[in-house]
């Protein structure tokens, strides 16, 4: 439904309604912000002379007079800001010889409709107008370069990750493998265009640092990040995700704990759809796919059963840190602690000796527990004793604190 006021538009274009050409573009659900931003870019463009800006409606004293409308839109992680959401702009397009054009933006909770109205006798110039609009849309695209967790209705911006490589304790070969795989996203000129897609599976036990690696690489690459947790690909569906990725390329898609997708148990599952898409990966130029799994054998089983037609380009297996990395990790956690004093000689070795086979996450959790107990002692006016705390945490290993409702507490 066209919302532009016919009288105002007629007067501006100096044409009757049957002498107009209307082109309509819809931005629905998660893409509403794209429509708003594109309209905003249009008003700010030096190629566009805004003759009059208003919204239009029939039936009022001035037939087309109602106010422009602003609304709140989410522009960053849980941060909204006012943005123009309903308006009509009477413009002359300088780059097209002063072509008169009316741009109308109408929004509701479901969609944003942009309409472009030009005189019909200038109809052959609509392609040029749309091309200009495409350029504006691309330059003002609110998703480009962002970290998102989008579904159909919400772009769901994520906070920008801050993982520092020096705080991740893994063999250098793991970092190298990741950087190599996604070089086309960090330095596109260094990689031939035909190789601008890559699929990597990170496999390892829970707590080994897969998510940490994903956060790190998402801060390294120069691309839009689309991040999905377990089960989150089912609702939007694989075709939507891939279409979104294509429109935003270069893109890194991260699928966390892919094997945990509750819908991924049969042949028609989202996981199967995704694996099929990877097989037909060639049209996915500029798209990197990084998935993590705790159960790489599940993919092997899918492959062996013929239900998955292909495999990832590369599988990077991550295990628990070896003795050297574990030592470095413990030393790093203790020396960077904002709570604990500088570690005395032997403390790192003591924790090191008691944590063989532990994942990095579990070791970090122990250090957090040490900090908590240290602060707890101070809160109660006690003198914290690291020896006692370490003895309790390392030797009694209270993975589960057991307590009876009424009797004396006991640590398992």
């Amino acid at each position: 439904m066209i919302h532009a006021g016919p009288v105002a538009v007629r007067r501006f274009l100096r044409r009757e309604r049957d002498e107009w050409m209307v082109y309509r573009r819809t931005y629905d659900g998660a893409f509403r912000l794209v429509g708003h931003r594109t309209f905003g870019a249009l008003l700010a463009s030096p190629d566009v002379e805004v003759v009059r800006l208003a919204n239009t409606e029939s039936g009022s004293r001035f037939p087309e007079a109602v106010p422009m409308v602003w609304g709140d839109e989410c522009v960053e992680f849980e941060r909204t800001e006012p943005i123009l959401t309903n308006a009509t702009a009477m413009t002359r397009l300088r780059s097209l010889g002063g072509l008169p054009a009316v741009f109308t933006m109408v929004s509701d909770l479901l969609e944003v409709i942009l309409e472009i109205i030009i005189p019909r006798d200038d109809g052959d110039r609509i392609d040029a107008v749309l091309s200009m609009l495409d350029d504006l849309e691309k330059s003002a695209h609110p998703f480009t370069g962002r970290h998102l967790r989008p579904n159909h209705w919400d772009p769901n911006p994520l906070p920008r990750p801050t993982s520092d490589r020096h705080a991740i304790f893994m063999p250098p070969s793991v970092f190298e493998a990741m950087e190599e795989a996604f070089l086309f996203l960090t330095d596109p000129d260094a990689v031939p265009g035909a190789l601008h897609n890559r699929t990597v599976l990170l496999a390892g036990p829970p707590g080994a640092g897969k998510t940490l690696l994903c956060r790190w690489i998402s801060g390294v690459v120069d691309a839009t990040i689309l991040w999905y947790g377990p089960g989150e690909i089912f609702e939007p569906g694989v075709p939507f995700l891939l279409e979104l990725a294509r429109s935003l390329a270069p893109v890194l898609m991260i699928f966390e704990d892919l094997d945990d997708d509750p819908e991924s148990t049969d042949e028609d599952s989202s996981l199967h759809d995704l694996l099929k898409a990877i097989d037909r990966n060639r049209p996915l130029d500029g798209i990197g796919i990084l998935a993590t799994t705790n159960d790489p054998e599940r993919f092997d089983r899918l492959l062996a059963g013929g239900t998955a037609p292909t495999r990832f380009d590369r599988i990077i297996r991550i295990s628990v840190p070896d003795a050297g990395l574990r030592h470095d990790l413990i030393a790093h956690l203790l020396t960077t602690s904002e709570v604990l004093p500088a570690p005395k000689p032997g403390i790192v070795e003591r924790i090191h000796g008691a944590t063989e086979g532990f994942t990095g996450a579990r070791i970090a959790r122990i250090v957090r527990d040490i900090e908590l107990r240290w602060l707890d002692a101070l809160d109660h006016g006690e003198v914290p004793d690291l020896d006692t705390i370490l003895h309790h945490l390392l030797h009694e290993r209270p993975a589960v604190v057991r307590t009876s409702g009424f009797g004396s507490g006991e640590v398992e």
Binding site: R61, M68, P82, P230, D260, E371, G407, S408
Partner: protein, 442 residues
Amino acid sequence: MKGRELVRRFLRRELDELVVYRRDLFSSPSPRLEACRLLAASTADPAVRVVETAAPWDPTGRKTGALKVVWRFVETGYGISEWMVVEGLTLLEHEGLGGLPIAINLGGELDGPHLEIIVRREDAHRIPEVAAWLDGLLDANHPFRGRLLRLQGDDLGFLPPGNVRRGDLVMPDATLRELERNFGFLLGRRRPKTLRHRSVLLAGVPGTGKTLLCRWLAGTVQGTVLWVTPGVLQEVGGARPAKIARMLRPCLVILEDLDVALGTAEEDGPAEENLMDAAGFSTLQDVEGVGVVATTNHPELLRGSRGVWGGTAGFDALLLVEPPDGPGRERLLRRLVAASPVLPPDAARIIPRIAAQLEGATGAELTELVRTMEYRWIWELHRGRTPDIGEIAGSVHGPDAAGGHRRTSRPARHRGRIPTEESVASRLRNDECDDTEKGGGT
């Protein structure tokens, strides 16, 4: 937009020379209360001069520009309602913004209100300043921050203030200290950023005092408390409680019977490995200042029999709450009998015998037992007989007892039961506690 004539006259501009800023109430945890509170706060702001609050009400409706102002009682706390404007037009000049004339229009349905801020078109560039002013007003007058809340569908409701004190809990000091240690950042203790988000899972069969621990925490922490029952979590999904918690932080979220909410209490255990992620509290998002305590009635899930539960299921700490041991049972029974308005003081003599025979009984079951003894005592007096505490005790907990206080099918009895918001409110009230769940109390 209502009151067009009035707005035109006040701003001295035609309608096409105005700009409307529609305040986003869609993502608010309770749009109606937020809109009403914002309007009230804006007119009470000392930096604002209120020119007029709508036009005089004209019952004929013929007068041009005539508007009504609708007042209603709006719930602003547990058992507290205030008169607030729920529909009206306010015309004001903001001295802090150089005398900027602003019309604020609150309207719409009670469950779907809209708040419009109208300025002259030449002032459109000042809308971000107006939005920031409103943000500041809401921040200073937030109707929910620091309150004890329950999520009820898309809306928030208020719960009564917590009334469980530390002394009311007959539990090892180590248990309470473990919780205080984890949630120190919500207790006014200084904690670094890395320790300003903690999650604890309380696991134990029904009646061991998990809910009571949550009630104690709810009344102890300094910040917002958001109580989420499994039925609501199933209905709204995990993202909404997490978002509200971030909005109202510092915040403690209580996820009751999490395994039921996530559908993991049946058959082969949890489908999700990381229950915190599944409940919407992904560490990918900024969860600083948010504490989570969840409960489950299935402690067997924590015993490592299933591989995925051998870890911590995404929680920072796991607390297994078990029924009291012999001395614990005796201690609790003594407190219950001593506090009884019915039983005689010498009733304490039978306590060691009962405590020894009720191996595995939970605090809730012991409470129930004493209450039944009280009823029997009254019944005997009512029949004109002289009650004998020994006989009564034998009749209510012995093998022939009709009262059913032997521990039989307790876990099955509670499996899959979904508490409602009403039951939570009931549990939090002094006088309507659900005996089944308040086992740790006295």
